[in-house]
Structures are given as structure tokens and as C-alpha cells.
Symmetry: C2
Subunit: 386 residues, 2 copies
Amino acid sequence: MREVYVLGVSMTPFGKFLNKSLQDLAYEPTWNAIRESNIDPHDIDIAFVGNTYAGLITGQESLRGQAVLREAGIVGIPIINVENACASGSTAFNLAFKAVASCQAELALAVGVEKLFCGDTAKSLKALSTSTDLDIEGHMGMLFAGIYSMRIRAYMEKYGISREQLAKVAVKNHDHGALNPHAQYRDRVSVEEVLNSRMIADPITLLMTCPLGDGAAVILVGTKEMALRMGKRPIKIGSSVLRSFDIARIHDQTIVERVSGRAYQEAEISAKDIQVAEVHDAAAPIELYLYEALGFCGAGEGGRMIDDRQTWFDGKLPVNTSGGLTAKGHPAGATGLAQLTEIVWQMRSEAGDRQIKPLPNVGLAENGGGNIAGETAVVAVHILKG
Amino acid sequence: MREVYVLGVSMTPFGKFLNKSLQDLAYEPTWNAIRESNIDPHDIDIAFVGNTYAGLITGQESLRGQAVLREAGIVGIPIINVENACASGSTAFNLAFKAVASCQAELALAVGVEKLFCGDTAKSLKALSTSTDLDIEGHMGMLFAGIYSMRIRAYMEKYGISREQLAKVAVKNHDHGALNPHAQYRDRVSVEEVLNSRMIADPITLLMTCPLGDGAAVILVGTKEMALRMGKRPIKIGSSVLRSFDIARIHDQTIVERVSGRAYQEAEISAKDIQVAEVHDAAAPIELYLYEALGFCGAGEGGRMIDDRQTWFDGKLPVNTSGGLTAKGHPAGATGLAQLTEIVWQMRSEAGDRQIKPLPNVGLAENGGGNIAGETAVVAVHILKG
């Protein structure tokens, strides 16, 4: 497998854009990523397009990538439409990486795009329920807030985690969001505000949840030579691991541990080497056991990490400097690529007011998708090296 | 790129199975293909699952493969959900081929599954309309029969093709379907019956169209060593080419010519070497210009090929011995893999009453998908070698 590098990265701000189509959303970041990559768009060998819900929201099923990229003038090449629930963007990136790593392509495009706002919240929520096995969770009316609340309660009981500690994660991520012009929520919140906001699924309150969102994120990947030609810091893809759920567990450590363990092995590093991370905080408190599952701390030490402000953007191991799903937002198909975009910006010193110092050399993105039989259905972990 | 071989192949009969779920449909061919391959299912490295319309028919979006393969016990590996309109099955096969060719995987599973019958034909037809760009054909109410009728009329005028010649293709494919226990339609029809059946979109009559259908087809691909261990004739994948539409043309020769040209080049053969073919006769008359586009005859000679019975199963170059989409049926996501299954059966002398003689050594499958701006949106061409 040859070395693969990240070239241009770009994303829209995440938010509510009722007047923008999927095409509108994807157009600008696609061309920004092309321009930043300093490549001829005719040299793109293949495109992977991740989208999760368009079939159920806009009605565009089955040829989403062709419809989206037609507007941007990307035609004539293989376009592979992929979906893997909220990990659809990472799935596109994983395939783009593998296409270049295995010399099937020199230059591959990964696009993630989503519209969740459609003027009908019930329709949007119904679409979200399809990121389960409809025969199990889906038809039980078990939505994500319910699934996460059960996991978080089990975690709280096991390790004596307090509601304040859960709230602190939301405070941190909203703090980061306030520094990120691409974030959907840009207001700081206090622990009290988080705890006093409307209860959604005990112990998850409104300010701990991620919003519905529209948006797109785009990354080009290519060879080392292309990365050197860009004139920016070359960022190498150290590992790209994606797996589906295995056996049912109420706690999703199994799959995240398994996937991240493999990713560390492939990148020839350990969890201790990670200097910046974006993780899948679809409900903010989930971050605490993701710290453990990713090896950032020992069992039950997630609460201490947030108490000690270790994962704030000026802490020892900044996590979700973008604001995470909680504050940056979560247009499902775009999320995985937006996480990677944030890591690249941090590693290239392009993260503005939330730039971490010193410049990180190793970053991780963890993207989860859906739920089947009590376990996260898909997890993707990517490690980038500066 | 190392050599890649087809291992086990299996498909359900195509038809109307209101009581079967996507899981039910995929289960049996998945295990049949595993058994035929003589492999341990735990050795499957990756699965690609093609489905086109479940989001709009059964409501299962975003994790279709995980939901489908859970039932068959295939968990824990990367599962990539792909769609490319009616070429979704070929897209899954193309990625499975590339995964093994590039040594990312030793053993890859390609699944195509579709339920189009749901007790509500309007819902099924509306789903089909999403295999266009909704902003162009989709919202114009332009369904496939309309798109094909325009293409066929242009072709008839250009080359003086008669309605009888169009009907003969349907007669041939229904004749083949009558010999195929997996076909949805098993009745022979005459030229008169075809021409006198209800007009759908002039000149396309009912008996020239393909039906709605439910079904699944599954293929395992692996290394030469695995193929030799199977104890059946080893079938090598000579080429696997997939491309999306380029510039708008009312006639879809451009993309089929381009993709098949590339496929012949990669397989180091010419069109003259093809001994059996399955082509995308979503409306039977389309076959005539596919003969040209694939290089089976010169410009305008499609009519003569059918008059001379060259493409009957006992002719010089049998086409759609399975009955094609017209008679075998067309459960969209399953079609590409079912075409390849037929070619493998013909090459392994397992095609029963429709077995062609002598045993073919080189076969081709052409699978088209959707329509954007007047052109077929996706075309995949695979060449298999005995």
C-alpha cells in the first residue's frame, strides 16, 4: 500500500439552509477543495459521495452523487454513492483512501452532503430512525436520544459519573463552537444552563444534544507528490479503519475499542501519541466513554478528564475543537469529512481562534453510525500525521 | 493488480414476494454462495451491498447492508452500502473486484437485493423516478418508459428499424425466460402478441417492458487459489469498468461505447471475442442499439442481428439467455449481480435447458443505471473469462 495524503479540504458552515439544495451545498466546498489542492479537476479519477437521508428528505435516491456533482461539473468518472448512517462521510473517505493506497486511483474525491431540514421535523426524525435496523429499534420507536440515554445511565452507574460531568462536555463543545465560524451553535452555555435545559431523555438535556443540520464537507486525497505540490503542510493518512457491529452490547466500547485499536496498529502509534481528536458526540456525554474506548484514559476516568479540562482546546488533549456534533452540528453524511477537515485545519494551523498550540502532529477522527441490536452499527477511525 | 476470480454465485428467483423482507431475500443466496465457494464465512474480509430503493419502499435507509446481512450472520467486517440506480449490484461487484485486485481483501462479498413490490404501485413508480436527477427528469414526471421511447424512436428513424424488429427482441427474451426457472415471466409470446399488447410509450408495448420485481443475487470473489479449491471451472474477472454519464446525449451509445471500449482494452480482447452476453434491456428494444454500442455489430445492424436470430440462445452470439430484464425481471439492486450469475452459469455449464453450446470462454455483462440530462447516468461492463 502506498502512502496517501490529504490534499484540499473544505466545508460549508453547518446550519439551517431551507433554500439550498444538496447541489447548492456541495458545490462550493467541492470547488474550494479543488482549488486548494492545486490540481486540475479533470485529473480526479473517482468520486465517493456519502449521504444518509436524501431519499427520505429531498426524495433524491439512487443517484445522489451524480445529481450533486453534475452541478459542480464533475462528470464522466466512476461515482460511487455510499451510505453508512452517520458514518457515511467517513465511508466515502475510507474508500477514497483505499483507492489511492492501492494504486487504483491517483486522485480521489470524497464528498459528504446532507439536508436534514425540510420544514417538517417529524419527517426528519422519521428519516433518522432508519439508521437502525427497522425490524429491531426502528419499529420500536427507539430514537437515538433513547439509545444514548440508556448507555449513559449504565456508564454513570458503573463509574459514579455525575450529571455535572456530563454537562461539562456540552459546555466545552459549545465553548469551542463559539470559536468556530462553521459551527451551527455559536453561543457559550454554562453547566447550569445545560442541566436546566429541557430534558430530552434522562439524563440527556436539550443542550447536550446535537441539532438537525444541513451542510457539506469535501476532501481530496492523492499522492505524496501532489501534497508536496500544494504548498501547504503535507498531511499523511496514517490509518483508515471502518467496521460494522459485531455482537450486541449495550455499551459501544467494543466496536470503538476494536476499530481504534486496529487504527493505532496500522498507524504504528499508540493512543498516547494523539494530540488532537474529533469524536462522535451525537449526545455530548457520550464523549466521556469515547475517551476510554479510544484509549485516551483508563476505565472510568472520563469524568476526571473533563473535570481537569484536559480536552478543552487549550488542554493536554483537545477533543472536538470544532464544537463537535453538539455545537458544530451534525448533517449526517457530512460529519465524518467535517471532523477530518477540522483535524487538517488544526494540523495546518488554519483553525483561527480555536487553534491549538503547539501545532499537532498526530490527530484522530472517530465517526460512528447508526445502531443495530444495541450496538453502534458502524465505526470509522482515521489517524492523520503531519 | 492481481488476478481476481468469481467464486460462488447464487440468486433467488425474481418475482413478487410480498411476504418476504429484504433480509429474507438476501439470506438464501448469501449462504448458497458461501457454500458453493467452499470457504469459511469468517474469512470474508469485506462486503459491498447494492440496493436502490429500500429507503423509499421499505423505509430501511442508511444501514441496509448491516440490516440485511445481520440475518445471515455476516457481522463485524466493513460493510459498504452502495447505490447507483439500476447499476447498484454491478457497483458492489466492481468494488469487491477492486478490493481483491488491489490486495486490500482476499475474499469479498457482493450482494444485490431489492424489493419493488410493496402493495402500492404508485409508491414503487415514484421510487423509480428517483433514478434520475430530480431537478431535471424527475420533477418533469419523465419515467423510464418515456425516456426509452424517445431513444428508440430516434434509433428507428435513423436506421429504418421496424416495430416487428423491436418486438422480436421481446419474443427472444421471453423465449429465454421460459427456459429459466429463476425468471419472473415464463410464458412464450409471439411478435403479434407483443405488438398488440397495451401501448405504454410508443413504440414500447407492455410485453417489451420489464416488470417490477423482488429478488437478490450474491457473488463471492477471491483469489485464484480459492477458485481452484472450489472444484468448479475457475472464472476470472477479465475487466470491471464503471463510469458515470458525461455530456448530455439523447442516444446512450456514448457512455456504453466508452465503458465497453475500456473493458475490452483491460481484458485484452475485442468485441468479436464475446461468446455470451447479458445486457440491460430495461425496455427490450434497447437491446438493438446495445448490440452496436457494445461492438457486436456495425451501426444500424442491430435489426439484422435479431432478424438472423444471431442473439437467440442457440445463435452465434447469445444475448440475455436468462430472459434479460424483460423476462427474468429487474429487482434493480440485484440485476447487475444476476446478470453476472447467468454468465457464470453459462460458462460453468450450469444453465440447464438454456445452456449454450459449445461452452463459452468469454462473457460480458452490461448494466446501466438511471438517467440524467438525457443520458444513462451509470454504466458498468464486466468481462469474465473461463
